[in-house]
């Protein structure tokens, strides 16, 4: 989030943001705004809240802790199915079912993925999670398991109604919006505090150099498992909300391409940044609509979706490794010329690299002694 200098200004902006979030479902009834905001936007905003939790969860694991997971869609899907099975089969109340799903994915993510992941480095972890996301739909349909998951049919919600006390003021979509958005706002605040605490700094140290983190006294296996557990907890809650909002989940609801989209979201939004996660969630919310609109102007856009997203991944990774959030920060501190200048500098260094191979940056630490002296570098990005 942008850092404002005066606390008064900060309070003002946060208050304004809160007011917008609270009043958002009614914008479409206001005379001045109804031309711009349709009722459908309430659904958009609800999905935004769900995606925000997904992006935060992925950013915690990948952006802050440097662990590459291509299986994030699978974890969200497990969260959705857990919620569905608890609430629809065992008649657990929905909010409790969602909390249970978060706990379930958190424990599974921490113990089943996190502890083995302690021994795995980047590429191996990427392959294992890649295999997970591809095989999960099949696992959900395997005989025995499908008694609970209903196999390819999936699970729907029959009757979701706002509880009695809210029934009088809110319709179903408004109720969904408020519960989902309130959860997302609360969990974002918690996320902010975690990432700005000792735990968050341990994650970043882990990402920048595991050996360095070890030497700084960070308990590497513990924090790695913790990163997986926390991230999976957020993903599980997001999955539960996803099921509630969509009122359905099936084995193919989220898959490998969604995992890629999540990755696109954190990269173009900004790695290791809460603001970046918000921007990434906006991307996930509007990407289908954006491509469709682009299709009105440029008829091939729809067929070139993969090229556009892939191109965005490559270009952002090469030119703005800190994503949009990085650009926003650079804009705040240096103004538009500063942003432009840093892009130009980056471009010219890329041209230089294509011509000749440059030595790895910085002197290699010769001895453990020397490695200890060096503070952990800023890596590809820095915590916002």
């Amino acid at each position: 989030m942008p850092s404002f200098q005066l606390p008064v200004a900060r309070v003002f902006w946060l208050g304004l943001l809160g007011a917008v979030l609270v009043l958002f479902p009614f914008f479409h009834t206001w005379p001045l705004l109804d031309g711009y905001v349709t009722q459908f936007r309430t659904f958009n905003a609800t999905m935004f809240a769900v995606w925000l939790l997904v992006v935060l969860s992925m950013n915690l694991l990948t952006g802050y802790s440097g662990q590459i997971s291509l299986g994030h869609a699978a974890v969200v899907l497990v969260g959705a199915f857990t919620t569905a099975i608890f609430s629809q089969r065992f008649n657990v109340p929905l909010p409790l079912a969602i909390a249970l799903a978060g706990l379930f994915t958190g424990v599974v993510g921490g113990v089943v993925i996190g502890i083995p992941a302690v021994r795995l480095s980047g590429p191996y972890l990427a392959i294992a999670t890649f295999a997970l996301v591809l095989s999960l739909p099949q696992i959900l349909k395997i005989g025995g398991i499908n008694n609970y998951t209903h196999g390819a049919l999936g699970i729907g919600i029959h009757d979701l109604q706002p509880p009695g006390f809210a029934d009088r003021f809110l319709d179903k979509s408004e109720w969904l919006y408020y519960t989902t958005m309130a959860t997302a706002v609360f969990m974002t605040a918690v996320f902010w505090n975690i990432t700005h605490s000792r735990i968050g700094r341990a994650f970043v140290a882990l990402r920048d150099s595991e050996i360095g983190a070890e030497q700084m006294g960070v308990n590497v296996p513990f924090y790695k498992a913790l990163a997986f557990a926390l991230s999976s907890f957020y993903a599980g809650i997001a999955g539960g909300l996803f099921f509630m909002v969509q009122a359905f989940v099936g084995p193919e609801s989220l898959g490998f391409f969604d995992s890629i989209l999540f990755l696109v979201a954190i990269v173009i939004g900004g790695l290791a940044s809460v603001l970046g996660s918000v921007l990434g969630a906006l991307f996930l919310t509007f990407q289908v609509e954006a491509i469709t609109r682009l299709g009105d102007v440029f008829s091939q856009a729809k067929n070139l979706r993969g090229v556009i997203y892939g191109g965005a991944l490559v270009i952002v990774m090469l030119l703005f490794p800190r994503g949009f959030a990085g650009a926003v920060q650079a804009f705040q501190s240096n103004g538009p010329r500063g942003v432009w200048r840093s892009i130009l500098a980056r471009l010219s260094s890329l041209v230089e690299l294509a011509k000749s191979y440059a030595a790895p940056r910085g002197p290699a630490p010769a001895s453990p002694d020397e490695a200890r002296r060096q503070p952990p570098g800023p890596g590809g990005s820095s915590a916002s």
């Binding site: 392959i127 696992i139 990269v267 993969g306 090229v307 997203y309 260094s349 590809g380």
Partner: protein, 294 residues
């Protein structure tokens, strides 16, 4: 017993598909320490190029031309797109290759459409299955195995018996030291990508003859190829071949002997094998532990 033998042989046959794609993955990982998630899509893309060549010329010239185009493409990608992330954390290079993955997938769909293209078998790979005592293996599968072995032998010779290969191995191990002894490190990395894109094209053309050519045909194989590479060891070319065959055979056994009430388990099997291998022997059957990089 006869069925078991037949299933084993067919498993080896389909394993050969995974083996040859795994070989390309291992090659690039070994020479540049980048795990190329776009390997399958690049191979698919160049196979489509081979297909367009084949509408104008015979199989062999088209095949060779496609390999050259693929190698040039691999070299260009390394220079323009991967060079900046080669010294960055693996996260950056994985993201970039995933970007390439969706780019190639989208481009192929846009250029050639979703309709499957009739593709072979061609030339010597066409013909009746080869049988011995009621157990048969398709000619194409024998061909794929033979081609994999030829590729591997050529690579073995290159890496173990030539100075260029020695320099490539040195570059993969220690770039700083390689620069200091005067190896043009950048060129070695470019060459590594060119080689593996070339091998990818060979793999694509061989595999597509067996599974027909669509924009998704190689994606289905990519997971098994990754499983094979992890199983054999990400930095061991012979491991890739052995891993591919093990995966192929066990996939066939699963399809034959798992009761039908359970449903399909082939993808699950690949996942479970990857997880088990990584837990027991994280560097694979023939791989060696990587040096710890700071």
């Amino acid at each position: 017993m006869q069925e078991f033998a037949q299933q084993t042989l067919s498993g080896i046959a389909s394993g050969s598909l995974f083996a040859i794609v795994a070989l390309a993955i291992v090659l690039i990982y070994r020479s540049t320490s980048v795990l190329n998630f776009a390997q399958g899509e690049m191979a698919m893309f160049t196979t489509f190029i081979a297909w367009s060549f084949m509408t104008r010329m015979d199989f062999w010239p088209a095949f060779i031309l496609a390999i050259l185009v693929a190698a040039a493409m691999g070299a260009a990608l390394e220079r323009l797109v991967l060079r900046p992330v080669e010294n960055a954390p693996p996260l950056n290079s994985v993201i970039v290759t995933l970007g390439l993955f969706t780019i190639f997938n989208g481009l192929a769909l846009w250029i050639w459409g979703a309709q499957p293209k009739g593709f072979g078998p061609f030339s010597v790979f066409k013909g009746d299955a080869i049988c011995a005592a009621d157990v048969c293996i398709g000619r194409l599968n024998v061909g794929i195995l033979v081609v994999s072995l030829i590729v591997m032998t050529v690579l073995y010779f290159l890496f173990q018996r030539t100075t260029l290969g020695l320099a490539m191995r040195a570059t993969a191990q220690n770039r700083l030291a390689s620069q200091l002894v005067g190896i043009p490190v950048g060129n070695m990395l470019t060459l590594g990508w060119a080689l593996s894109a070339g091998v990818g094209a060979i793999a694509g053309v061989m595999v597509a003859q067996s599974v027909s050519l669509t924009t998704s045909s190689l994606f289905a194989i990519l997971l098994y190829a990754f499983a094979a590479a992890v199983l054999g060891g990400l930095n061991s070319p012979p491991g890739a071949i052995i891993g591919g065959i093990i995966i192929g055979v066990s996939k066939n056994y699963a399809a034959t002997y798992v009761p039908s009430g359970v449903g399909n388990v082939d993808l699950t099997l690949a996942f479970v094998m990857i997880v088990i291998v990584l837990m027991i022997r994280p560097t694979g059957l023939l791989g060696r532990p990587p040096a710890r990089r700071v």
